[in-house]
């Protein structure tokens, strides 16, 4: 089973992100469970959502305590809430920001992880470019597809289109594709730098 935890604030589409991820997995024939942390909905309050993906029925219902991947939609949460709790050394991290981990003050923290699995991506900017709004959730999923290989970009695009009709859907698909390409490029550079 692969467990993802998504952090953000109310209004940033954190719950939708988990749903879209689950939908993408479903479209690829897998089992997926997505649910939010059930806080009282309030714009700006920290929100967490969860997604589990597996090849058989998922029975467990607890919040994701030991995620295999973290997606952070709002970097302002970084030093306020313990986002990284339970993340194993092989975990993936994808943060929505133009800054690097060092610039975010996380240089020490990420030393315990596999550096090729940790990325920051300016998903919000890509989203704004393609949809007119800096709602980064769909873009982040495109980037996450590239980073983790857990689901395909096609499945992410399909899920976005199922959930959002017309130009909103297409804009978000474009943002997801752009973020995907961005991450692929970043990963290439990282492995090139490592081996070079």
């Amino acid at each position: 089973m692969f467990e993802v935890r998504i952090h953000g604030r109310g209004g940033q589409g954190v719950v939708t992100a988990a749903e879209l991820l689950s939908l993408a997995a479903f479209d690829e024939g897998r089992y997926a469970q997505a649910f939010p942390s059930f806080g009282s909905e309030r714009m700006g309050a920290p929100v967490v959502s969860f997604c589990r993906i597996d090849d058989h029925e998922i029975r467990v219902r607890e919040p994701v305590m030991e995620p295999d991947a973290l997606i952070v939609v709002d970097p302002t949460l970084l030093h306020q809430v313990d986002l990284f709790g339970g993340l194993g050394p092989d975990g993936f991290i994808l943060i929505n920001t133009a800054k690097s981990f060092d610039e975010l003050g996380l240089g020490e923290l990420v030393k315990g992880f596999r550096h090729e699995r940790l990325l920051t991506a300016p998903a919000g900017e890509l989203a704004r470019k393609h949809t007119g709004r800096a709602v980064a959730n769909a873009a982040l999923l495109g980037g996450f597809a590239a980073l983790s290989g857990l689901i395909s970009l096609d499945a992410v695009a399909g899920a976005i289109r199922e959930r959002f009709a017309g130009t909103v859907g297409e804009g978000n698909v474009a943002a997801a594709q752009a973020a995907h390409a961005w991450v692929v490029e970043e990963m290439r550079e990282l492995s090139g730098a490592a081996s070079g």
Partner: protein, 417 residues
């Protein structure tokens, strides 16, 4: 058709497939998505003929259902927590009058203190209301149980509530198989009321009944639930024939046949317990599960048969009978009358506190080694409790409990994760 949808949506679609004629509901978290979806289906014309009545309270919701059902219409409503309490009088009225209303209960804690998260205190508070209570383990079972519930209710002329854990199931997006209309139509015939308000054949419904007849009338509600003990497995078997899956029934055992320790629970927590039990089994612990689907009527015989060979039973429940302890365990004890086995009550998950595999692993290991107290509160912060008790002992004007405790645990830190 196989779909990946929110539990609430799945239930709304299942209810719509049952061709309800009057839907009347008052919004309350976490049931809101169910009634919102149904209102959309009615307003768009997808669900027709159907009257969707926006009522002014939960008491009104159940009352509108009573009037509609008494006039021969298939009636449905949904609520949770405080809303269930607000319609309590009407619950007893509906069951006493023998009206086959079906209601979704999105299980949620009852205040004070006000809390919108999941536990079973709401449905447990109405266990004696005369309503049949069925508890869903998954969203698939939740939607399936609604289809079975209409048939059960109408065959017996008694109301049925389908309980599904609020947020945990209602707001979880997962894979479900939603049946086709023609299959549901074949499974669920049109409503044929046992009594109906009809100008062509006038009857009086709801007369006062004095001591000379009240016991007999009241007993009929019990008699119907005794019939339900037979009918529920029959309907589940028919459902399996028609739709190809196990849903419903009285209880469901998991790896219990040779178990020395059996965990008994209701609702979605069974999934987490199953994963934990699999891990423990791999370590050689002889542990199994009995999940209760039908809590009312309580399947005394089935529970007895399932538990009698075990050495101990751990009843894990999401409600507290203040002043005495467990509710489900009291019912289980009745089933085990005359049988010697260790019984442990574990109160867990109140007000939505997550029940984790980690906690369960420790708990069940203790249970298997008989290291548990008869009554345990899982993951209770006793320091916090004791500090408040000290405050109360130190001063008469100790202040409101909730605020004191929240300040103590610094509620910001007691965030979602």
């Amino acid at each position: 058709m196989l779909r990946q949808v929110e539990g609430s949506r799945a239930v709304a679609e299942a209810v719509a497939l049952c061709r309800p004629e009057v839907i009347c509901a008052y919004p309350i978290s976490p049931q809101t998505h169910i009634v919102e979806n149904l209102s959309q289906l009615v307003k768009s014309g997808e669900l027709a003929p159907c009257e969707f009545v926006n009522v002014e309270s939960e008491l009104a919701a159940m009352s509108v259902a009573i009037g509609a059902s008494a006039t021969g219409a298939r009636a449905y409503t949904a609520t949770a927590s405080q809303g269930l309490l607000y319609m309590t009088e009407a619950l007893y009225n509906a069951s006493g009058l023998g009206l086959p209303i079906v209601m979704t209960l999105a299980n949620r804690a009852i205040g004070a203190p006000i809390n919108i998260w999941n536990d079973h205190s709401d449905s447990m508070s109405q266990r004696d209301s005369g309503w049949i209570q069925l508890y869903a383990e998954t969203n698939q079972e939740a939607l399936d149980l609604h289809i079975q519930a209409f048939r059960l209710a109408e065959e017996l002329s008694t109301p049925v509530m389908v309980c599904m854990d609020g947020f945990i199931l209602t707001h979880a997006v997962e894979r479900v198989e939603i049946p086709d209309q023609e299959y549901v139509d074949a499974f669920l015939p049109a409503f044929q009321p046992r009594q109906v308000l009809d100008p062509d054949e006038p009857i009086s419904i709801g007369a006062m009944v004095g001591p000379e007849a009240f016991m007999e009338v009241k007993y009929l509600a019990h008699a119907k639930q005794m019939q339900a003990l037979e009918l529920i497995p029959e309907i589940a078997a028919d459902f399996k024939d028609a739709f190809g899956r196990d849903s419903g029934g009285l209880i469901r055992a998991y790896r219990a046949e040779d178990a020395e320790t059996i965990v008994l629970a209701l609702g979605s927590v069974l999934g987490t317990i199953k994963d934990t039990v699999d891990e423990l089994r791999e370590q050689g612990v002889k542990i199994g599960i009995v999940g209760i689907t039908s809590f009312r009527p309580f399947p005394l015989d089935a529970v007895r048969d399932a538990l009698s060979h075990a050495e101990r039973v751990v009843v894990l429940e999401k409600a507290l009978a203040v002043g005495v302890g467990g509710i489900v365990s009291a019912n289980v004890r009745m089933a085990l009358a005359g049988i010697q086995l260790h019984g442990y009550t574990v109160i867990a998950g109140l007000g939505g506190r997550p029940i984790t595999k980690a906690s369960l692993r420790g708990l069940l290991a203790d249970a298997a080694a008989d290291r548990l107290e008869p009554l345990t509160f899982l993951d209770m912060d006793w320091d916090v409790v004791n500090r408040e008790l000290e405050r109360m002992g130190a001063s008469r004007e100790s202040g409101p409990h909730a605020e004191n405790i929240l300040r103590d645990v610094r509620s910001v830190a007691a965030g979602p994760v």
